[in-house]
Symmetry: C3
Subunit: 137 residues, 3 copies
Amino acid sequence: MHARFEIMTSRHNEVRDITSRVQEILRGSGVKEGVCSVYVPHATAAVIINENADPNINSDLLDALTKAVPEHGGYLHDRIDGNATAHIKAAIIGPSEIIPVSGGELALGAWQDVMLCEFDGPRRRQVIVTIIPDTHR
Amino acid sequence: MHARFEIMTSRHNEVRDITSRVQEILRGSGVKEGVCSVYVPHATAAVIINENADPNINSDLLDALTKAVPEHGGYLHDRIDGNATAHIKAAIIGPSEIIPVSGGELALGAWQDVMLCEFDGPRRRQVIVTIIPDTHR
Amino acid sequence: MHARFEIMTSRHNEVRDITSRVQEILRGSGVKEGVCSVYVPHATAAVIINENADPNINSDLLDALTKAVPEHGGYLHDRIDGNATAHIKAAIIGPSEIIPVSGGELALGAWQDVMLCEFDGPRRRQVIVTIIPDTHR
């Protein structure tokens, strides 16, 4: 029910589409109905669901977050590690999303993709996919 | 276990209480213990849990989001579709919430309601409700 | 499958580590594989997952949220209750997190802790922990 995969990010702030990786794991599980959790075990990365048909949306999101939580904005944690803004962004966005599973597929909308947000890259990141089957029959 | 319903929003930015619709689906399922996922398959809408006893809280939330992510704030995606701010807000808030189910009811607090956030309306929106029963007995 | 515990917060804005309480409930459940939901039934509190090895990260998060959503920033709800900013922060962060369970333990990353965010304290707060076992075998 759990599967893990890794991705290597290439920039300091970056959004990476992981939809096909999650779909592949779901199909391999054989589960037809239930929910799917996508989770990153990291404190400076996060998971979002949004449109990737125009990847500029991801750039806009990263810019808006950096505007709201500026780099080196006088944070206490920056005295230790220099990445306070990455932690704050990750806490606001959150490390996971839950997607309904219907007919063996993610019930994503036409304009929804599943994406990993990197806020302190480049780094090797893990993604944990958990499929919870519906047993209510 | 999955149920869908539609709502037609009436404003560009709007918060709509969907608690009673979700409760109705939960009661129809007959599930007494577990969790309930409320999911919107859209990239410019979102789901929150908060107080609706004073609907001004929703106006305050929408105003605060627009202040943090201004309309037409120089976004790249606005060259294509004009709704970058809606995507950014939806990504930050997220498309779903998970609520514990106890005694056949949503375990909401006294001041909690389940609400759909519209950031690019008016539009017809879908809501997917998934009940995951507890089978641990 | 559900368990509840209470914590008494001591400041107006505060982040409290609840990881060990959640782990204790998980171990008591005997569930080895699945997911764990941590939910607060409150409209002015929230749950995050982030690093607490340096507690300054929590102070930085609280300061960044207050900068983005200032106290008494002309909110309509403040005419009634004075805590609009707490509601807005809680809606943005959200009342719950879902964590994979693997080998009877929370699949948290090395730098992840589970924490309650208080935005309108000091108050007595409840936390609902729900363990959803994997039954897919």
